[in-house]
């Protein structure tokens, strides 16, 4: 298992992620369907459903919208990709180690 090569591929993909910003922007595409802001919902339907208005702001994500770098959406996107790789990979590594701990002890 050459895990190192796969991690390198992931890092290359992380650097390329701004393509995922540029392509939709080039075609003037909006949000994913249903993932709109309250403002967009008001534009579409003329009102914001009261339950949505109450619940939507409940959680303020630290890196909301994958845009942690104010001046450069692309740089922020790459930073988000790297953070995501480290956090997802790290959590799953620790979770996997913890879940398989008996297996690891019994292994010859």
């Amino acid at each position: 298992m050459k895990a190192r090569r796969l991690w390198i591929i992931l890092l290359v993909l992380a650097v390329l992620t701004p393509i995922g910003l540029w392509v939709p922007a080039h075609f003037h595409a909006g949000d994913a369907w249903g993932e709109w802001s309250l403002g967009t919902i008001r534009e579409q339907t003329g009102r914001v459903p009261p339950g949505m208005a109450r619940e939507a702001g409940r959680w303020q994500a630290p890196m909301a919208d994958y845009a942690p770098v104010r001046r450069s959406p692309s740089a922020g996107y790459v930073v988000s990709a790297l953070v995501g790789i480290v956090v997802c990979g790290g959590l799953l590594w620790f979770l996997g180690r913890w879940l398989t701990r008996r297996e690891a002890r019994d292994a010859p």
């Binding site: 595409a29 993932e35 303020q60 959590l91 996997g96 398989t100 297996e103």
Partner: protein
């Protein structure tokens, strides 16, 4: 496909958590029976899913969408492993990046961490006997993401039926089933399904060549064998 905060009524997201709780426990137990040396694959699978979901493309209807990697993970590592991997990725997206709601996390897991992996895995196992495995993987990706899109559309579209104010107007997501299903299925059947199919088939092909132990069905069966053999 990430249902945002506030789109679902409390009884919907509460029910989703009630459905997911036992599935998370089962997934944890099944992953616990994997071999310790497979653990890095969980981490790589989760990181891959996170990154591939950042490659948005525009759909023909002015919205955006992306592949998820869930079918690939289900085919290579087994569907229960994919439940755990995708749930962790969706939680990271929700908590750190505000992509999908915290309250909607279990609902998003039903669609992208359960429906998508299990449907993909089933389609792959069904087809792999008859057609080339790379093709089977691609078709599995196409069908899997469309199953998840349908699940998402149904959860969105039920909201006006389930929760409305005294004036009869919706309290949460405002569009009904006809609109949600038409919108979600059009873009996934016509475009995003093929994107997931391409990602699944290409990555599967690459991994089959470079990591033969993964590309064979041995890896996908290992989970079942481990479960069947020991418990």
């Amino acid at each position: 496909m990430h249902i945002p905060e506030g789109a679902l009524s409390p009884q919907t997201y509460g029910a989703a958590y009630a459905v997911m709780a036992p599935l998370w426990l089962i997934a944890g137990r099944k992953v616990g029976r994997l071999r310790a040396r497979q653990v890095p694959l969980l981490a790589i699978g989760g990181a891959f899913s996170f990154v591939i979901m950042m490659f948005n493309i525009h759909t023909l209807t002015g919205t955006t969408g992306h592949a998820t990697g869930a079918p690939l993970i289900a085919i290579l590592l087994g569907p229960w492993t994919a439940v755990l991997v995708m749930s962790v990725v969706l939680a990271v997206q929700a908590f750190l990046f505000g992509d999908g709601g915290i309250t909607a996390l279990a609902a998003n897991c039903i669609n992208m961490a359960v429906l998508m992996p299990f449907v993909s895995y089933g389609v792959y196992r069904l087809l792999a006997r008859w057609v080339r495995r790379g093709l089977a993987a691609g078709i599995a990706g196409y069908v899997g993401i469309n199953a998840a899109a349908l699940g998402t559309a149904i959860l969105f579209g039920l909201q006006p039926l389930l929760a409305h104010g005294a004036d009869g107007r919706p309290l949460y997501f405002p569009y009904g089933l006809k609109i949600t299903i038409a919108a979600m299925m059009t873009e996934h059947l016509l475009l995003l399904g093929f994107v997931e199919a391409a990602v699944t088939a290409l990555a599967f092909g690459y991994l089959s060549r470079t990591e033969p132990s993964l590309g064979s069905e041995v890896a996908a069966r290992r989970e079942e064998a481990a479960v069947g053999g020991r418990g």
